[in-house]
Each structure stands twice: as C-alpha cells, then as structure tokens.
C-alpha cells in the first residue's frame, strides 16, 4: 500500500458543509422525491453503503484488502432469519441486536487469526472463511434449509410492517446516518490517525510502541459490526436469505462500490453504493448480457478512474469530503 494515491487532508471547507447538508436533506425527503420502487432501491443502496463502509474502513484506513466481509454480512442476515424461524422471535430490536452481536463475535474470533497476515494472504484467508461459511450454510440443512434458504416476508415495525417501504426506509436512514457519524468520528479520532500510520509504515510506528495487532484487530471488529448491521438490515429488503449471501461475489460488490465512488474520499463508498445499486438494477432489467456491460464498466474504472466518481467531482468542485 506504499504509493497510495493522493489523499487530501479531509479539510472541512465551507462548501463541503453545504454539500453534506444538502445530501442529508435529499435523503430525508427521498421517499417523496423518488416514490415507489425507487424508495426500495434507495433503502437497499443505503444498506449496501453501510456494507461498503465496512470494507473501506479496513482498506482505506488500515490498508488491508478483505475479500470476506460477506461472511459477517451473511451471518447477521442468517441469525435474523434463524431466530425468526426456529424461535419465532419477530421483534426487530432483539433480532437486529443479536444478529450484530453474533457477527461481531465472529469477526473478533476470525479477525484474531486474519490480522496476522497482510496483502494477498489476508485477502485469500478472508475469502476462504467466507466460502467455508457458505458451504456450512449448505450443509446444515436442518438448520438453514440449505440452498432453498429461509425467508421473512415482513416483520412488524412500529404501527405497520417492513413491507411498508417508506417507513422501513426511514429506519434504514436513521441507522445509516448514525453509522456515517460514527465512522466520521472514528476516522478523525486519535485511533483513526494511528491506524493510518500502521497502513503507511508499520515498522516505524511499531518501533514507537504501537501494538499493531491490537489496533488491526479492533478495526477488524468494528468493520465486522458494520457488516453485521448491514446484514441485519438487508433481511426485510431481500425477504429470502440463501447461502449465496455469504459468497465472495457479495464481498466483490462491496469492493466495486468503494472503487466506483472513489475509496480515498469519505463519501466514496456511499456514492458508489447508490450508483452501483441503480446501475445493476436497470442493467439486469434491460438486457440478458448484463455481465458483459458490468465487466466493461469495471475494467474501465480499474484503468481510468483511480479516484472514482467522487474524485472526478472533486476535480470540478473543490471541497467534496
């Protein structure tokens, strides 16, 4: 990760404050600006944005490329579905908190092994863990119903249910804003600065007395929490959870969202998630050979846009965070 491209200091200029507020306001009134199916897509993009942040926390701030965030994303989703099916629990708070807790515990235990490695070995190990959980989900048919998967049509939410997209959108929005706020605070905290030094020059910072493993482990756990939150929130939107949710393709999507939006900027993963979800939705609807088009876009971005879309915008408009 030595020659990471130019990362401007995240200065908060006048313009970026306005951009942030406008962006939040748009999100707040989105159900009325983009009614119907688009609200559903927006809710899904916000959930995937939280998932993309989980990857970006490890990649941009710690320099570790994880290919297995889907493991914790999928585990949280499965916990929600399993509790609903086997224990009949349908209160959202209990389901979500347990799901995130289990995902975090998993991230903590696997994280302890993973952080011992860097670069490719970290990527391959995280991938192997994801695939292992995927096969486990297929194997434990009595628990997870195997490849047929388990579903929740809807969960009671306040006065209505999660099928009411508008209300569910607001729940997702609130959780999304909290996670963005927390990530902003985290990346601007002393801890946030230290993990970036670990990314840039581990030997030097270790010699000054930083226990690298501990910092990496904590960051891995926080990333696991984010993936868990996203996994729990996605269940009412997907409706039906199958083992494929644990596979590396899902982690690949998180990586692509961050790069599409420009992983170096704070808003990158969020913008990337929004654009990716809408592109993929329309691409699939129109043509059978959507993989070809998606592949060409990915290759194009990998070669041309290093900073992603936010980088482009930033060239035009100074101060986009």
């Amino acid at each position: 990760m030595k020659n990471i491209i130019r990362i401007e200091k995240l200065r908060i200029t006048e313009k970026s404050k306005v951009v942030t507020v406008v962006f939040v306001l748009i999100l707040i009134f989105a159900p009325y600006l983009f009614p119907g199916h688009n609200t559903y897509l927006l809710a899904l993009s916000l959930v995937m944005a939280i998932f993309a942040m989980s990857f970006n926390l490890l990649f941009r701030y710690l320099g570790l490329l994880s290919f297995g965030q889907a493991a914790y994303f999928g585990t949280a989703a499965y916990v929600v579905v399993l509790l609903y099916h086997h224990l009949g629990i349908d209160s959202m708070p209990i389901l979500f908190l347990t799901a995130v807790a289990v995902a975090t515990a998993l991230a903590a235990s696997f994280g302890y092994i993973c952080v011992k490695y860097t670069e490719f070995y970290f990527a391959i190990l995280t991938l192997a863990i994801g695939e292992l959980l995927y096969f486990l989900a297929i194997k434990l048919k009595w628990l997870t119903n195997g490849t047929d998967g388990l579903g929740i049509t809807y969960l009671p939410l306040l006065w209505t249910n999660t099928l009411n997209t508008v209300v569910y959108y607001y729940l997702v929005l609130i959780v999304f804003l909290i996670s963005v706020l927390f990530l902003w605070r985290l990346t601007h905290s002393p801890f946030g600065l230290i993990i970036q030094t670990i990314r840039d020059n581990p030997t030097r910072i270790e010699s000054i007395g930083v226990k690298i493993r501990r910092y990496q482990w904590i960051t891995f756990i926080i990333a696991g929490v984010y993936a868990g939150v996203a996994g729990a929130l996605v269940v009412p939107l997907y409706g039906h959870i199958v083992p494929d949710i644990l596979r590396w393709h899902v982690s690949g999507e998180a990586i692509f969202m961050c790069l599409l939006g420009g992983y170096t900027s704070f808003l990158g993963p969020i913008i990337g998630a929004l654009i990716y979800t809408f592109i993929k939705d329309h691409l699939i609807a129109e043509l059978i050979y959507w993989q070809l088009v998606l592949g060409i876009i990915i290759v194009f971005f990998a070669l041309m846009f290093r900073e992603g879309i936010v980088g482009l915008v930033r060239r035009g408009v100074r101060g986009v965070p």
């Binding site: 490719f120 391959i124 096969f135 998606l294 060409i296 990998a302 290093r306």
Partner: protein, 286 residues
C-alpha cells in the same frame, strides 16, 4: 484402493495444470489474476470446438493435435490482454489489478455464453476413442493417463525452464525481488509478458486437455481459479515442484475423502487452506 490413488492423481494433475500457471504469474508479478480461470475455461471451450471440427475427419490423431491448438490461442489472447490492460497498472495498488481481472472474468463469462451458449459444452470423442483398460479388476479410462501425463510434462517443462535455462533464472530473480531485478537492468516488462504468456498457455492447455472428461459450463472459470488460489496458498510460492506436491496431496486427500469422510468433501480444500494458515503461514513448501 489403487483406484482411489489413481483418481487422486487424475484430479491432482488438473489442479496442477490450473495452479502452475497462476503460481508463476502470481509469484513473479504479484498479481491476483482471477481471469486465469477464464483462460482455463476458454481453453476448454476452444478445445471442444476444435475436436468437434476435426472429429468427423475420422483420423483419430488429429483429435489429439486439435487439443493443443487452444493452448496457443489462449496464450496469444493472454499476451494481448497483458500488454494492453495489465501493463499500465503494474505500479498501482493490487486492488486495481484484482478489479481489472474481476471485470475480465465477467466479460469472458458472457462471451462464452454468446458463442457457446449455456448448455454444458463438451467433446467426448478423444476420451471415448481411447476406451478403458482393466487394472487389478477395475476398469479405468486410458484418457485419464493422458491427462496425468500432460500434468507431468508441464511439471518437467517448468522445472527445466526455471532451473536450467537463462530466462528461467531471470524469472526467478524477478520473483524474488522485481525492484532489485529492475535495478540490475532486467527488462521486467518483457519478463512479465513472458511469464503471463506461459501462464495463459498452461491454463489453456489445462482447459483443453480436460474438456473431453469434463464439461464447460458458466461459472467454470471462477470455480477453477478458487481451487488454484487454494493450492498456491497452501504450497507457499517458493517452488513449482512444491505446487505439484500440494496438488497431489489435495487430490489424494479429496479422493479418499469421498470414502472416509464424505460429509467433509465439500469443505476439504477450504479447511486445508485455513489449517495451513494457522499452523504454517509460509505454506507447506514456503
């Protein structure tokens, strides 16, 4: 019992053919090339096409020659991709190379579907023609020995290339430390292209040789590259014979797995990867 060992060796040679090329490119160029699986699949599809074209000529030898053509074509395509797409981003972070190959896999998937459709594509003639022989009371397809032979040939070629020839030494120097090699005046760009070419040829050959016994289906590329990565990580990147031995171990482990612990067969490859990570981080032969 011998049957299981033979099965193990048969699967091991397929594993080696796909992972040898990747070990070379991954080792020398430090590139996580997921598209390597697509080269294997491309070799398989092309192999099938050429065999069917040649099959009706009735001359059996042509069929086996036809299986070699895809290796050359895939090699050329691989080289073309390397020069045009990979060269500009060697200096950038690994994620961009990973992303580029991820995109290529998607493109190849749809090209396969466009040209060969989603039916399971295969060309049984070379396999059926050779028939079977009886060993110790059980029948075994002769073609399997051809695949095992190809695997061994590839091993011998690679060890000879890397061991004895000048280019082999240069490749090993670049693998050790490409910056040092560059400072010693080695034209790393040319070496990268050569290594990528060999990798693509091996993958293409692997694909076309195995197509008569297997089937080319959408998703084949991804499955094979994940197997290849597992082999490479477990073997540790130091030596090609190391990769061969690891493929052998994995192959035999898997074929005995069917008998003794059938439930685990699905997991075996991943379990081995994780166990090796915990106990021997540098890989078995690292």
């Amino acid at each position: 019992m011998l049957a299981y060992i033979l099965n193990g060796i048969f699967f091991a040679s397929i594993l080696f053919l796909i992972s040898a090329g990747l070990a070379l490119t991954f080792g020398a160029m430090r590139i996580l090339n997921i598209a390597h699986g697509s080269f294997f699949a491309l070799g398989a599809y092309l192999g099938g096409t050429f065999v069917i074209l040649v099959a009706d000529t009735g001359v059996p030898v042509y069929m086996y020659l036809a299986l070699l053509i895809p290796a050359v074509i895939v090699g050329i395509i691989g080289l073309g991709l390397e020069v045009s797409l990979f060269r500009p981003i060697y200096e950038r972070e690994h994620v961009y190379q990973l992303l580029l190959t991820f995109g290529l896999v998607l493109i190849f998937e749809d090209i396969f579907r466009l040209i060969w459709g989603t039916t399971s594509y295969t060309a049984p003639q070379p396999y059926a023609y050779l028939g079977t022989i009886k060993i110790l009371g059980f029948e075994y397809p002769i073609y399997a020995f051809l695949v095992i032979g190809t695997g061994l040939l590839a091993l011998i070629f690679l060890t000879y290339l890397l061991g004895k020839t000048k280019t082999g030494k240069i490749i090993r120097v670049v693998t050790e430390n490409r910056f040092m090699a560059a400072s010693l005046g080695v034209n790393t760009k040319k070496v990268f292209s050569l290594v990528f070419l060999i990798g693509a040829v091996l993958a293409g050959l692997g694909g076309s040789i195995t197509i008569p016994m297997l089937v080319a289906l959408p998703g084949l590329a991804v499955e094979m590259v994940i197997l290849a990565f597992a082999v490479i990580i477990v073997s540790g990147l130091k030596s090609i014979p190391g990769v061969f031995l690891t493929s052998l171990i994995m192959g035999i482990l898997r074929s005995f797995g069917v008998v003794f612990f059938p439930e685990l067969v699905l997991f075996i490859i991943y379990l081995v990867v994780i166990i090796v990570f915990i106990f021997r981080p540098r890989g078995l032969f690292g």
